[in-house]
Point group: C2
Amino acid sequence: MGVTIHDVAKAAGTSVSTVSKVINGYYSISDETAARVRQVMKDLNYTPSTSAQNFAKGTTRCVVMLADLSPGTAFRNPHLFEIVSGLEESLRARGYRLILRGADTTTAYAAAEEIISRRSADAIAVHVSVMTHPLSALLTNPRFPHIVLGMPNFETQVCWIDNNNVYSGTVAASYLLSMGFRRIAFVGGQYYDLGSAHRLQGLRQGLHVAGVTLEEQYIWLGESTREDGYRMTKQLLGERSLPEAVVCANNYIALGCVAAIQEQGLNIPRDIGVLAFDDYPFSQFTEPKLTVVNIDVRDLGNQAGRFLTDIIRHPNKQVQTYVTTSILMERQSIFRR
Amino acid sequence: MGVTIHDVAKAAGTSVSTVSKVINGYYSISDETAARVRQVMKDLNYTPSTSAQNFAKGTTRCVVMLADLSPGTAFRNPHLFEIVSGLEESLRARGYRLILRGADTTTAYAAAEEIISRRSADAIAVHVSVMTHPLSALLTNPRFPHIVLGMPNFETQVCWIDNNNVYSGTVAASYLLSMGFRRIAFVGGQYYDLGSAHRLQGLRQGLHVAGVTLEEQYIWLGESTREDGYRMTKQLLGERSLPEAVVCANNYIALGCVAAIQEQGLNIPRDIGVLAFDDYPFSQFTEPKLTVVNIDVRDLGNQAGRFLTDIIRHPNKQVQTYVTTSILMERQSIFRR
DNA sequence: CTGAAAGCGCTAACAT
DNA sequence: ATGTTAGCGCTTTCAG
């Protein structure tokens, strides 16, 4: 079939090992031999076989990512794919390929086990949504290079990386304070929705250090849906005194929140400001467009790729870290008071 | 390191080829030997190395998908990832792994060339957005197993698969006709936006066979954005006689369309019906929720995977096909007249 | 600086 | 039914 390293060696009048050495570059080969070999490779249109190289070197140069890829995920959770894209980009820059593999909590363990035992990848990336306790044990004992995207909601020795939502919350707080807001409300997900909970925590903290209190009556937690955002905001607006601004834990809630406020005949941002988290395209589908604290999730994927290659090199390396590039995107839903 | 086929052979008191045969299963091995070998494999916790197997067999069991994965793609184009998910699912069911690789029109050629020359995948899937003429030549001459997701907008011998948007257009037509509509408008993308153009064509055709004409004055083409949808609809509403329904080529346009109609003080669906294509989550963010002709893009990915494995087996197979599972999702933006 | 040769772990004729 | 053996295409140690 194709031309092999032997053909090159023969044509260049050298041994295959010499050719291999010029391919890999980290052996001493005289410049002239190297040049000749390179020329022959070009003439013969030779490219080393990836499988053969990897097989001989005992590596795969692949990392597989386990994630929920069930129908509709791309629509419901674009974040996931933005992370995937960032991961792919980062891995590719480092010479690795990203294999995407769908799984759920019931199948992820077997998938990982197969990958590990068949040595079909150099590392595994697991999206936190398919993470389980057994899987965590599989990854850490004995250790196999891995990273979990998102902080697991249980104590574990796995490597993970996540956005620092607490920090993002403080960013929201600083911004609101700087814009002259004091009486602030929060509409978010349930306490077990860690992302929302952390954002709330950061917001509260950020306000607190400035001597401002986030009052309990202004905190509403529910489902992360447009419907529940609407419902909660309605109730919030029923309070005796209106907040000056409401912070929405995510875009879905924000959509409902805006609808509720406007239905009440209130003007955003004149009567009440709205600040949301994340910059889904639909944060721009409201009128006015939402000012948001955006989280650069692609960067999360990027960082994960970087850590992963580190971990492949140093399997004992333990990474449990937060990375966040939160960017405030000022649009029209908050005006200075 | 790991236990190899030799260890198994020794422990089972057989030759490696016997072990190999029971692994692969398509050679005659006595039941009792097979059982013994299998037992030893289990005892030794042996799993064949994927790389070694593939290398020996001269295959990779991988297909790489080339697509635009630039920042924000997941938000702007969730369709793409739904296709990816479908493709992955389908390939996995057939024993292949999906490697996702970012590219653009300037890098896709080199990426494909590398894959082909290094034989690092058994096939390539290319999203039409990164397709170019040279790439098409590379794939077809000599033929390398491939499939393009989406119909290229130039004459080519590549294998491709796409949704039948013309058909979807006729689905829209039939529905509107059955609901008693006659005077219908279309707000869509430019003529070179093939998806939109085909939907328009199907709509026109579908109406035509029922003796209904889609009048030119009711056809507005522009950018596929909320803004342009708004602008076009505004103009459309300026016509001397209002259409009974407007069909929007996609969700973005629909968002603007709904806003324009409502701003005009018209009620949807009482005064005017709105029918859109695609079921992005934000087709439900309008009030009322949009009735849409949804396209099952995941199924497109699924079919692509099926064809791809066929093509790998029969490299000369030529596939240029439309598949469509369009489903009408009735919500609140169309009422029977 | 170069080459010979022994793998890497498994498959697949071919022989028995 | 089972074993022998020659690869698959490249890397890497060890001599020279």
